[in-house]
């Protein structure tokens, strides 16, 4: 884990709401694993006070790339930075995806959930998981076509893409979990699910996985102050030996086994 102050190398808006930014850090690039995240903040004490958790989207050589959707003041500030301005970066943080090399990886992305999954996809493709009939599959969904992110990159990484949008503007009309259900019903290969997206989607994916008896890892979100296990701010209800308790999303997660989570809270 590092805390670094790094000049932005590039930053570009990809439509009105999402920006992609990149900076160079051999240290972070060297340690990062898919599913991990960074806490980032434009330099200097200012409003908003706290850094923001953002998944690692991509690592290429010493370059780290992030994909940020503007939803509030913090992400607005980040997205309006210019190249050369300094970003405070803490990470890589948390527990990433634990890939089972024996199983066909099924990636399930909802909206911004695509961000960490591209890192996973590119890692899978580099590690040669691209064998015949075992190529990873990406299920990707969003409300409209604009919310379907990084499609080209996923395809380049060799993933078969099955998309769905709520308004039918891209892929099939419906939810990404509809496509996943159809797929799971039709095939029989041993597969494992890796999902990131809104909590409703994750809950549905977890239910499908349970029904089909498939291993399933989900990446959760919660408000964070420190991102490093110190503040206990990022609680998620988890089944534990001693009975239900709270896990720290930042340290015990953000990737959890779907079965660990108490979904109804």
């Amino acid at each position: 884990m590092f805390f670094q102050e790094l000049p932005l190398k590039k930053i570009e808006m990809m439509g009105p709401e999402v920006c992609r930014l990149g900076f160079a850090s051999r240290e972070i690039a060297g340690k990062a694993r898919p599913g991990q995240f960074l806490m980032i903040k434009p330099q200097a004490w200012a409003e908003p006070l706290l850094p923001r958790p953002i998944s690692i989207h991509r690592v290429q050589g010493g370059m780290v790339e992030l994909l940020v959707r503007v939803v509030g003041e913090g992400t607005r500030r980040i997205s309006s930075m210019r190249p050369g301005e300094i970003l405070e970066v803490k990470g890589p943080l948390g527990r990433g995806f634990q890939v089972d090399p024996q199983k066909v990886p099924l990636l399930v992305a909802g909206g911004m959930g695509a961000a960490p999954l591209l890192f996973l996809a590119e890692k899978l493709s580099r590690s040669g998981a691209r064998k015949k009939n075992r190529a990873p599959v990406l299920f990707i969904g969003g409300r409209t076509k604009k919310e379907i992110l990084a499609l080209k990159e996923f395809r380049q990484a060799g993933l078969k893409v099955l998309a769905a949008t709520e308004d039918g503007s891209f892929g099939e009309r419906g939810l990404v979990t509809d496509r996943l259900r159809d797929y799971l019903e039709a095939q029989s290969a041993e597969s494992a699910l890796y999902a990131c997206g809104p909590v409703g989607m994750l809950k549905a994916v977890a239910a499908l996985a349970l029904k089909e008896g498939l291993p399933c890892q989900v990446s959760l979100e919660e408000r964070m102050a420190c991102g490093m296990g110190a503040c206990l701010g990022c609680a998620v209800a988890r089944k534990q030996e001693e009975g239900p308790g709270y896990a720290k999303v930042c340290q015990d997660g953000p990737v959890f086994e779907a079965g660990e989570i108490v979904w109804d809270e």
Binding site: K41, L49, E222, C226, M228, G229, L232, G233, C234, Y246
Partner: protein, 308 residues
Amino acid sequence: MNRLTKPDLSVTIAGIRMKNPVLTASGTFGYGREYAPYFDLQEIGALVTKGISLKPMAGNPPPRICETPSGMLNAIGLQNVGVEAFLRDKLPYLAELGIPVIVNVLGHSLKEYAEVASRLDGQRGIAALEINISCPNVAQGGLAFGADPRLAARVVSRVRAVTRLPLITKLTPQVSDIGCIARAAEEAGSDALSLINTIPGMAVDIHTRRSRLGRINGGLSGPAIKPVALRLVYQAVQAVSIPVIGLGGIRTAEDALEFLIVGARAVQVGTANFIRPRACLEIIQGLRNFLMSRGINRIENVIGTIRP
């Protein structure tokens, strides 16, 4: 003074010598280990742990934090591993650090405070206890122990009776007369004071019409509260003769100096650790630079130097 000599940052509080006056604030530094990747923990003056209760506490349901202008609200709900797990799993690591370790003690009754304290008494590696009297007093409808001078005094004497460890009483800011509480803690046997704890606060989501936290109330911390903290520390310093440790919204060496100038003998750094994990280190370096640039050879020479 030779400007090249390193100035002396050390202070002694309640008999504990610290190599500098920068401590971590309870609940913002985990159990220490979380920060080890970011800097050498031996650099800090002393480490204060998360508040420890008799039994493990699960804490409040999420959301537990929420940002406010220049501050944050937290409703962690005193989540902690409990005193037994603390002694077993956390203390051994801390005891090896070679810096004073201060354990923050919490309780929901006089009895619980005393039990936690006596369990901690005599354990190797603990330099002092910090008694958190901002805890809700279950017997009195949830108002903090620290809101009433008599009650505050009773907590301190109960703890005093069961341990020979130095005691630091940590005061809550939500009181009419801080001097009065400060004196009560002093008279009951506290060796030092620390203040302020978070200020009770609240935030509402106008769309859902619910609290933005899993509980109605949270505790406000961060730069927003610094002016309030500084005034209370100044008043406490006037009221007692035991040392006072100042905290609340400290981010930089300049902030720390304000507290030292009004008479705090040390400071604690809280919320700032979340933002810059090396905040304590940066503050220590900033204090050193301040002294060197002015040819002051001891931090002691800054403490309490406020002019009218």
